[in-house]
Symmetry: C2
Subunit: 329 residues, 2 copies
């Protein structure tokens, strides 16, 4: 397949085309610019943002590919003229602005990372987006400290399973929500101190009962923010990385003042190359050792051949998954 | 009068008694505990919090006096057994948890500051609350940088006039709102780059037209927060120090994420002694030189004899004032 791609300058890839089923199409093989690395893809990670992108709700940054996919692992196939740290044939994983569901993908050199010890090449495709999102928000923006309490909505998600392990490795206590007792159990096994089934319990009361949160990592928004404010400790930081439950939220500003709360949020895709380089550096220096020591492992829910991405998306949309879904070539 | 107070162990002071007119009553003269300083009051500053306290909306911290008043200047009258840095007879100003509308007031030693060069003893009573509030929020929490843009609601208030001058001294650009063209003019004279009359213009559009804000200092809350979010630059910090326009505000969390905004707030009264000591240190080290050089001067709207505090409160409630109102003995 890659032989053919090389010869014709074409490759197979999956484009974001609204609600139409995902197709394994022929598209031009990309050519790396001066600071870019061309990766021969071995595996790509699925993200909820991919679902949003199909719905037109999370467009790629200007100039980025229409091919879906925010993270891959594989082999360096070619490098741009200004690339110094990567050479052809190296095994790498990378965060991408787009373009991961493909035989070949382009990454900015600063978003490329070596494969950490302790994981397979395929598993490594599941690390960049979650690790960098958790680092950017929980570690950089909220400055979670050892001994503090992190509360994560959606503990069984790709972000959730990663946040549980990274915060536990730091020495923080983690409480999470999940949508079934089985998922709650999986979160506890990953290191969570407690897991609240949001379908059968009131997470606000449960969180208050264990003393409240210093940091909240939320993908829901909407009605959840007032609950997070109520169940936060003095000085807490509440971080939003998605708004699956609604964009608009009501805030009691007097509570924000009296408890000196910080309400913030960010996207990973909107960060510039320098920001992403910093996050990749932090991942390699601070997080890869946790992978090597077994404190952080990517939780693989399921694996699909890349051309069957439609089935993989169905699995992600079902909400039945625990951890991440991988597409392989 | 103080002679009499010494002899009888009594003094004159004004208590917060709901809507009843403020009275110059006889109360016991306080005695400093180990880490406290007793100040013979020369002047006390008025704050909007005093009005709220009369309405029962801003109660003093537990254990604090029922006497009104959050800041004074005067002479050290006596010191507690553990006080090392202050001696009887020194001219000082201080932030108080309560107790400033009185002949004698108690301050924690860490909240006492020397009178800066360049102001009178009476004027110095108007510095602690505003300087420490602006430092805590704009400088410590929001980390305003030189070259950034600060937007202040209520530029003609005590906090506003102080924020304009402190941020300008730092090298930031300041835009403000005020309720009359005359007040807008006063703000420009203090160093503001622009002042928007919120009764005749749309401050959101005005602020957008000048490029938006990096830091917003707000005492209004309510409907203003969505406007501040819209007129904020990427990475902006929005700080709430009062909620004169309503406790509840609607937040678009997607905008918070996409613009990586921080929404936070604090009260000065709720800070512990260590926090206040830090703020007093910062005031003396970083802000007093600006007073000495003439870059920051307390804007005195009007002066009343302390026993006429009721009239002073009427002036504050009228909203006609520019800067601060002082009570003198």
């Amino acid at each position: 397949m890659s032989q053919k791609a090389d010869e014709t300058g074409m490759m197979k890839a999956i484009l974001a085309k609204g609600d139409a089923p995902l197709e394994w199409c022929d598209v031009p093989k990309p050519v790396p610019k001066a600071k870019e690395v061309l990766i021969k893809v071995a595996a790509a990670g699925l993200n909820r943002a991919d679902i949003l992108q199909r719905k037109g709700m999370y467009p790629p940054p200007e100039g980025a590919s229409d091919i879906m996919g925010l993270e891959v692992s594989g082999y360096v196939e070619a490098v741009g003229s200004d690339v110094e740290n990567w050479r052809v044939g190296q095994q790498v994983c990378a965060l991408l602005p787009a373009g991961g569901y493909a035989e070949y993908a382009i990454a900015h050199q600063g978003s490329v990372m070596p494969i950490p010890d302790g994981v397979s090449l395929h598993e490594a495709a599941l690390l960049p987006e979650a690790v960098m999102t958790v680092w950017a928000n929980v570690f950089d923006m909220a400055v979670l400290h050892p001994g503090e309490t992190l509360f994560v909505q959606g503990g069984a998600s790709g972000i959730g399973t990663t946040a549980i392990q990274m915060a536990t490795a730091l020495g923080a206590k983690v409480y999470v929500t999940a949508g079934s007792d089985e998922k709650c159990k999986a979160c506890i096994e990953l290191g969570a101190e407690g897991a609240f089934n949001y379908k059968t319990t009131d997470f606000e009361e449960e969180l208050k009962a264990v003393g409240g949160a210093d940091v909240v990592l939320d993908m829901v928004g909407g009605d959840y923010l007032p609950k997070h404010i109520n169940a936060s400790k003095f000085g807490a930081r509440i971080l939003h990385i998605a708004v699956q439950g609604g964009l608009k939220a009501e805030v009691n500003l007097l509570k924000v003042m009296m408890k000196r709360l910080t309400i913030t949020g960010s996207t990973l895709r909107g960060r510039n190359d320098l920001d992403k380089m910093h996050l990749a550096d932090m991942a390699v220096k601070e997080v890869w050792p946790w992978v090597a020591s077994g404190q952080l492992r990517p939780v693989v829910d399921s694996s699909f051949a890349m051309k069957d991405a439609e089935k993989a998306h169905e699995r992600l949309t079902s909400g039945l998954h625990v951890g991440k879904i991988v597409l392989t070539l």
